[in-house]
């Protein structure tokens, strides 16, 4: 059984409209005082499409804006500009001020913390019943009962757990309840924001397998947000890499992680601990990658007559076979958010291999310098 390879998703690609499409999404957060006009750009024009029955992983460091994207799509934040299309309908135009119930029944979210997302004073039954009644899917009491049992079985729990309180369940079981609650409204898209990062290692795979199974059996599209590249590769059909509020690379999962083209992706890949790999990247190479991300001077596709490079607008270069839909943003392009405030620029660009030795004279002058400043 273990030698069997997971089949790629059966996606009816070309003909249908994407289940979820985000176009030029921008989100600015106001910063500073009451009268300040300063703002921080968390998302700078993100374009992303998820086809029906497809799992797309969004990876990046914390602060890269991946959760902001999810919160904008879930309509928990109001995007500054851009469009969100669900089955081709612009939902920002349809429900202008807040998400309608119809939108909620099409798109659901699973949050990171299963300990905080379930109200501790209610039984499990309450969460699922409430979702079903609010969206008019409860039916008569007998139907409701069988629906509840069905939901619990789908997510791999026993129906007698309906009478439990959240504190009686383990983290993995709670996350399964959260997934069941999302499933209750029969959504077309599920946004999962780091659903496994707070779970114990041995149950993580179970949750990932459940998500894959839901996709395979019910054709639900998913946006899986994570910083764990290995699990993204395991679960997702496509991976999109986010850096400083913009997508820098996107492609078929296996291809993207086997041939990462953008220096930022390579930096992320090199940071994943993997005993099977022959030694981690050496510090010089990592420093070079950081420089290539932050103050790049050349692009790998420079000189390619078919793909022009440009530092001014985000140029997308195609990587490898067109079938893999693998593209990378031109390395020359620097996102406006990649100013000095970013975490990467705080890291030293030059690796310091020699560890400071006892040099009283220089150290003395340093302390004096500090005292004087």
């Amino acid at each position: 059984m273990s030698s069997h390879v997971v089949a790629p998703a059966r996606i009816d690609s070309t003909t249908t409209v994407p289940a979820l499409e985000v176009k030029g999404l921008v989100k600015d957060f106001h910063s500073g005082g009451l009268f300040s006009r300063a703002s921080v750009r968390a998302l700078g024009g993100v374009d992303l499409a998820i086809r029906k029955g497809e799992i797309v992983a969004l990876v990046g460091e914390s602060g890269s804006g991946k959760s902001t994207l999810a919160r904008c799509v879930a309509r928990l934040e109001k995007p500054t500009s851009g469009r969100i299309l669900l089955n081709g309908t612009d939902v920002l135009k349809r429900d202008r001020f807040q998400a309608s119930r119809e939108y909620r029944s099409q798109l659901q979210m699973v949050f990171q913390d299963p300990f905080g997302s379930l109200n501790p004073v209610h039984r499990i039954e309450h969460f699922l019943t409430r979702s079903l009644t609010l969206h008019g899917k409860a039916g008569n009491p007998a139907q409701l009962c069988s629906r509840l049992d069905g939901l619990m079985t789908t997510v791999g729990l026993t129906p007698d757990m309906l009478n439990s309180y959240p504190h009686e369940l383990s983290g993995g079981q709670r996350q399964r309840v959260a997934i069941a609650r999302a499933l209750a409204v029969e959504p077309e898209v599920i946004l999962a924001d780091e659903p496994t990062s707070m779970l114990d290692v041995s149950v993580r795979i179970g949750i990932l397998n459940l998500m894959r199974q839901l996709r395979d059996q019910q054709g639900i599209s998913m946006l899986y947000i994570t910083h764990d590249l290995a699990s993204a590769r395991y679960l997702a059909d496509r991976i999109a890499v986010m850096f400083a509020g913009e997508l820098v690379e996107e492609g078929e999962s296996l291809d993207l992680l086997a041939n990462p083209a953008h220096p930022y992706t390579r930096l992320l890949v090199s940071a994943v601990p993997d005993p099977a790999r022959t030694g981690s990247y050496d510090p010089h190479e990592r420093a070079a990658l950081r420089t290539a991300v932050m103050e790049s001077a050349s692009c790998a596709f420079d000189g390619d007559p078919e793909q022009q490079c440009s530092a001014t607008e985000p140029v997308r270069h195609r990587v490898g076979e067109p079938a893999n839909q693998h593209w990378v943003r031109c390395h020359l392009y620097r996102p406006p958010a990649a100013a000095a405030s970013h975490a990467l620029s705080a890291e030293p660009l030059e690796p310091k291999l020699q560890i400071a030795t006892e040099e009283p004279s220089t150290a003395e002058s340093r302390t004096e310098k500090q005292a004087s400043t």
Partner: protein, 311 residues
């Protein structure tokens, strides 16, 4: 930048734990959190302790530091550090032992800094109380210490909230090695951090370890990280060690089914996409037997019959 896997074993152990048993006593019943655990850590060796939450790995770390409070109780066994019996230490000895001989970086170490004191003051505190240096000398050493973990010494005047999570974690590690302890205990040092920052910090710990030559007890549930970093490792389940060997041996040929399950819980970064199962629900191991040596340096708890896990 692989660590030489041969640079250990010949030295005498820094830390020796024999049949350590820790119980949490309740009113009606008591739970054995750590059950007859034995291992030793050699000079300059990185020893990894892997396992899920609740398996007792943090309890061991706290027992070594003598930090256990009621209702926890060391019910048996011995902890020897450099020939001294840790469990018999008097408060004054313990105070010296705690930061000078053994230092610990806690799981949420970034939050263990005092928010109302500057980083510099907190490091100076260590030197003035434990080493008896003057304030000026302490400041000089504090600046060096921050350079050691690649933080700009100007940050001495920063408050913890002015540093990023990764920088705070590095500052805490710097403070832990301030007095050049011979053993550093790292209890899930990178759990709350991003992959890139985690990589930087692990590389830093490796560098520091090579430079200063201390031993490390490294506790985590991330098997891939542990295999990359440690020389030798032990896998814990339900308060017992089920397997211990050189890290590459455990990675290459895990023998105990629990070790295999833990290894299988991490999707690989290369190769074909193969379905993984992790640890199936309801599989429990009980009455874990004592370790037996199956090949040189590779100890495994022999399995009686697996309950409910026969494939």
């Amino acid at each position: 930048m692989t660590v030489s896997q041969t640079s250990f074993g010949s030295h005498e152990p820094v830390l020796e734990i024999k049949d350590l048993t820790v119980k949490y006593r309740g009113d009606t019943r008591s739970t054995t959190a750590v059950d007859r655990v034995s291992f030793s850590i050699g000079t300059g060796e990185i020893f990894g302790l892997a396992g899920e939450s609740g398996c007792g790995k943090s309890t061991i770390a706290n027992a070594i530091m003598r930090l256990l409070r009621d209702p926890a109780e060391i019910a048996g066994g011995s902890i020897r550090f450099g020939g001294k019996d840790v469990l018999a230490m008097k408060p004054e000895e313990l105070r010296r032992f705690r930061w000078q001989d053994v230092a610990m970086v806690f799981q949420s170490a970034m939050n263990s800094l005092n928010p109302v004191m500057t980083i510099g003051d907190q490091i100076v505190d260590i030197y003035t109380t434990h080493a008896g240096y003057t304030r000026k000398e302490s400041l000089r050493r504090a600046a060096q210490l921050l350079e050691l973990v690649r933080i700009d010494p100007a940050r001495l005047r920063s408050y913890p909230h002015q540093l990023s999570g990764g920088m705070r974690q590095r500052a805490v590690i710097a403070m832990a090695v301030a007095l050049k302890p011979s053993l550093l205990i790292l209890d899930e040092p990178t759990t709350a951090l991003d992959v890139v920052v985690q990589q930087e910090i692990m590389a830093q710990i490796k560098d520091l370890q090579r430079e200063l030559g201390f031993s490390v007890l490294f506790i985590t549930h991330d098997m891939s990280l542990m295999v990359e970093l440690s020389h030798r490792m032990a896998v814990m389940y339900g308060g017992r060690i089920v397997e211990t060997a050189k890290a590459k041996d455990i990675h290459g040929s895990p023998l105990h089914p629990y070790t295999q399950a833990l290894m299988g819980a991490f999707p690989p970064l290369t190769g074909a996409r193969v379905p993984l199962t992790g640890l199936a629900d309801g599989v429990k191991f009980s009455n874990i037997a004592d370790l037996r040596e199956v090949s040189p340096g590779h100890f495994v708890s022999p399995l009686p019959v697996l309950e409910g896990a026969q494939q």
